[in-house]
Structure formats: structure tokens, C-alpha cells
Symmetry: D2
Subunit: 127 residues, 4 copies
């Protein structure tokens, strides 16, 4: 497995808020992007899981904002799958700018079916 | 029919961008809110249309940004259904702050089915 | 001090994602709204802090997503200031729908000046 | 001048809404991205304009949504500067997927100073 996976992100203007920095909520979108690219780097396409009725959802998130990032900043998002079982995936994330860690986070992902009921993760994910 | 319908909106911090004003894209969310409340004021709940397989989608939008609005501003959104046929609804919008028009817009809405094919509007909408 | 403070939120369509539920990142916007209204309920207007060069920023967040919420859901956000010192505020949040807790979170807020340097909180906030 | 400028965009999950397609408001963010990259392709960095007190703002937008795009779609955004004077820039946009035009738009951009007053465009932009 390729792990961690690094993804380049350039900050969009719309992602900033009135303080001129990326709004803290928008990092959740970055981390999601990191998970998608982590899957892709390992030969999986997330939309195929949904097509088969497996929906990955965030069960919890912890995020530490160490320093702000700004419009047009070129960031590296490092996504690391640090733990997994039959029912959950745990990722950690680092957002770096010029090799400095700006933000750190951790998420737990679970899988739900079309009815929203928590299920086991698809086999492909946990091999 | 109650028309126009006025909706109060208080600007959220996350809706502002690095210029300290509401990002121009976020007005689309305001107008959508206006249409939802226009329906509600006239006895209709949008989610019921979707439950019945009728999805209202924006076919086009024109928007004039006359003056910026800021965090915590108290706005009035005036949503006006100005034209409708069996296949489309045309709304105009005014965003007002202290009775001054800050933004004006117009949208055309059409209806698609679960497969995304354009269909006639639900009867209830065009009576 | 009025604490906790309850804020009504009706889910906007744009806040949902392809799973038909509120995107997990959008809760950060809800919590921010809760803090703004917590201040207002206690006689403070956040924009005045910024006008005086005090910018409140999120230093960390922990969020547990217990159950999804959907378009048009009427939510109660309960914002509770649970701890504060000269340099930080700690809030907890509960998002409720029909008295059921759907999401729980905790944030730590610090204050930065115009240059982004961490400073003491404004006196008014910690009295 | 390099014109039009093509930008690759891969649709993020958070950009979709409850209909499973990109929310119509998010295209505004795509077009903004197109303008930023149009400037960059022509040797200009938008943040430098702001550093010098020139803020480009959208005065109006017209957008036609021809067909929906979905999570993970790989899009080409074609940004074309079609007209400019001392006070405004007019761009057109095409969002393409597999060479099919999914969305078309046109914006007018003006320049404001730090006080929000409309000014002439920076010289560099109109040469």
C-alpha cells in the first residue's frame, strides 16, 4: 500500500474568509480530497464504492490549526492511513507549506449502506 | 399566491471572503433559500417534490452585484415569481440592506426526473 | 452570563452533499454561528472585536458525527462556554433534531492581533 | 496575450449537493479560479494586485447550466478575456467534460480600492 499519499493543493480565493485566511471549515474539504487521492493512489476510485452502495462517512474529526494559510498558497496535504479494522479507517493529515506543518488532523471513517446503517467496510478497502 | 416573498438573512462569517465581503458565489445559496421559502409561503415543501421524483434545477442565472454586503449584515431577500409555464419558472431577486438594493438577480428553473431528463413541472407548482 | 445559548438553524440545500446529508465540513459554519450568537446573547457583537484589532480564531476542534441531518431539517444548536482563561475560550456544541443529539463538538478559540500574533483575549470577553 | 487559458478541475465531493451534482453556486468558484489562472498564464499574480490596493470584483455574471457534472469528473475550464476597457474586464467561460460544453458563463469584472470605490483597472491588466 502506498502510504502516506501527498496531494498538492493551491488555496482558492473562495476558501478564504474575512480574516484573509482559509476558513477553518474548508480544511475538512481538503482532508476529504486527501482520502479520495489516497484511495486513487492505491488503485481505488471512491465513486465505485458509492455505486455499489457503500458510503464512507466521517464519524469524527480532530483538527489542530497551528498557523493560517492564505490565498494562492501552495500546500502539500499528507494523508496517512494509520489504522483500520473491519468497521473503521483512521487517517491522519498534515497540511504543509514550505515544509512547515500548518494544520494537523485525524479522522475516523465508517461505512454506511443506502439506508444509512453502519456496515462493515468493503473488502477491497481492508485488504 | 403570495408573491413576492421576503426572507431575512443574516450574513455568516464563513460566507465572507478575503475582501471582507460576501463572496459572489454565496448569493446563489441565498437565492435558493429564497425559492425554498417562496414555496413554503405558498404551502409547498420542496423536499416533497424530490421525494416524488421532481428535481428543480437552475438552468440559468443572471446576477448584478451593485454593492457589497458584510459579516453580520441583516439582509432582506425579496423573491418574486415573475413568469411560469409548464416547463419553467422565472424568479427575480433583490437583496436589500436598509431598503437599499445591494444585489439583483434572475433565474430560470426547470424540472428534471431521477434520470436527469427535463420534464414538465409538477402540477402543484404551476396552478 | 447566558449559557448555553440555543440557536435555530434550518438546513440549506447547498449545505448537503452527494449523500443527501449535510457535509461534515459545514458543521464548522454552524458552530461559528453558535459562537457569534452566544456573544450576542451576552451583549457582545463579534464585528466590534475585529474593528478593535482582536480576531478570534479556532485553534482546535473535535467533532463527533452521531447521525446525519438533511435538507430543511430544523435543528437546535446548543453552544456552551465551558472554560475560559486569559488566552483561550473553550466551547462545546450539541446539534439537536427533535431533542436527539445528532452531532457533538468542542472548540478552543484564541485571539490574534492584526499581524496574526496570539494575544490575550479582550477584557470584555473574560469578565 | 495567452487567451483563452485552459484550467483542469476535478470535481470535489464537497462541491456536490443533495442531487449528486455540482451545486450551481460552486461554478462561481470555478470561474474565479479560471480568472486567477488566466492572469498567471499571462505573467500576473492576483495577490499582488490586492497587495497594491487593487481589488478585482465581480460586477455581474450570467451563467447557463446545460448539463450537470458529478463528483470526480475531470473538467476543462476555458477562460477567455473577450473585452476590456480602462474600467472593466469581460470574460467568458466554458466548462467542458470530454469536449462537451456543460456550462457557459460570462462575467464583468471591475476594480475597487481599499475603500470599495470603483477605480480604473491597474495599468498592467489593460496593456
Amino acid at each position: 500500500m502506498i502510504n502516506p499519499v501527498e496531494t498538492s493543493i493551491r488555496v482558492r480565493y473562495a476558501e478564504t474568509d474575512g480574516q484573509g485566511v482559509v476558513h477553518h471549515g474548508n480544511y475538512m474539504t481538503y482532508f476529504e480530497l486527501g482520502r479520495i487521492e489516497h484511495l486513487r493512489a492505491n488503485g481505488m476510485v471512491y465513486s465505485e464504492f458509492e455505486a455499489n452502495g457503500h458510503f464512507l462517512v466521517v464519524a469524527n474529526v480532530e483538527c489542530k490549526y497551528l498557523a493560517p494559510v492564505r490565498f494562492d498558497d501552495e500546500l502539500i496535504l499528507r494523508t496517512n492511513l494509520v489504522d483500520h479494522s473491519r468497521v473503521k479507517l483512521v487517517h491522519t493529515y498534515q497540511v504543509l507549506r514550505d515544509e512547515r506543518i500548518m494544520t494537523e488532523a485525524k479522522t475516523t471513517i465508517v461505512c454506511v449502506d443506502r439506508e444509512g446503517k453502519v456496515t462493515r467496510l468493503p473488502e477491497k478497502l481492508i485488504c
